[in-house]
Symmetry: C2
Subunit: 182 residues, 2 copies
DNA sequence: TGCTCCATGTAGCAATCGCTACATTAAGAT
DNA sequence: ATCTTAATGTAGCGATTGCTACATGGAGCA
């Protein structure tokens, strides 16, 4: 049924926009449908049930995220690990990334609790980010693969601490780890 | 009104137990009340409304977390940063800490979205953890304050990546950062 | 004995939840 | 022209949401 698949893919961007603004926790069918210009009746018709809808929506959001990462960053490598860390931190602080970040913690919470579809989408986004980070590592880095994982762990810790008002703690940690210029 | 305060504090542990098992997202009054052996009617009576209940519950959970941290770890210092990192990672992998960890991501998500009470509780728990980590740092460490923040950022990143199925990525990062013995 | 007031049970309200039964439209196939 | 079928609207179901109105018990105080 190509028309069904077309309909799904027509709906998903609008659903994603709504979820990016209002979060996943309170996402119920009627507001979602309204945001997509249709009815709850039709959402069930196209996706079968809410669980499937959310799973497909998460997959779509992961795709959007990948595209946003690609757009936000040119392909050229950094010259130092410090520069590499600074770049990805700068991406995270862009205003248009804030909605993603807020939604991200919803997804992490769902993944931790084992909700269907959450872990897959989260893992996909992390894999994508890791690949991008590896591509950004300095050409003369002695261990680009390990270094990228090291940087990524530090970055994610920084994002989490920032989310709960401990951003300064994280920055001091980055400083002490030599990942920020002193 | 001491009786009201007593009632609140009598209820909070049972409410916390329920939330630790079932999460904060789906926590509604009637299941909470049932877990506490009372009625939704009485929860509203004692706490005024659900928002206040959740805020006080989060504060209580932060207190529980602090106590659990103290219990789980003796007071003596580690001898190296590696040992320090290993200790706190070991704490996080204890089975009785799993419920806390799952709930933690709910709290982070609420804090990121700005829900009332979440950020305060999360910040309190992170402050407590930081203090504990500083007390664990090696006595001969050249920069215990910065080192504790560095370790904490790495640890939080590791926990997040583990929650989304990228625990191996984090471990490789810790290895590359010299925080795990190779 | 009355009076007062905190604590609690019972019942229910309006809103929202995911989902479904049924009817209707419209387009394409025969 | 008829038949079939995908797509959609309307209406509603039973459950659950946070919260409230009302009545009642029961303890302390006069």
């Amino acid at each position: 049924m190509p028309s069904v698949q077309l309909s799904r893919e027509t709906l998903l961007p609008k659903l994603a926009a709504h979820v990016l603004e209002h979060g996943l926790g309170g996402a119920s069918l009627r507001p979602l449908a309204k945001a997509a210009g249709t009815s709850d009746r039709m959402l069930i018709y196209h996706f079968g049930n809410k669980e499937t809808l959310i799973s497909e929506l998460l997959g779509h959001i992961a795709t959007i995220y990948s595209a946003a990462l690609d757009t936000a960053l040119g392909g050229e490598r950094a010259r130092t690990r410090q520069e590499c860390a600074a770049r990805i931190l700068a991406v995270g602080s862009q205003p248009e990334m804030q909605a993603f970040l807020v939604l991200w913690w919803d997804i992490v919470a769902g993944a931790a609790r084992g909700l269907p579809g959450y872990r897959e989408a989260a893992a996909q986004m992390m894999t994508q980010q890791l690949a991008w980070l590896e591509g950004q590592m300095p050409a003369d880095d002695p261990d680009p693969a390990g270094g990228a994982r090291y940087l990524m762990t530090m970055i994610e810790g920084t994002l989490m601490l920032s989310a709960v008002g401990h951003g300064d703690t994280a920055l001091q940690g980055l400083l002490a780890g030599g990942l920020l210029p002193s």
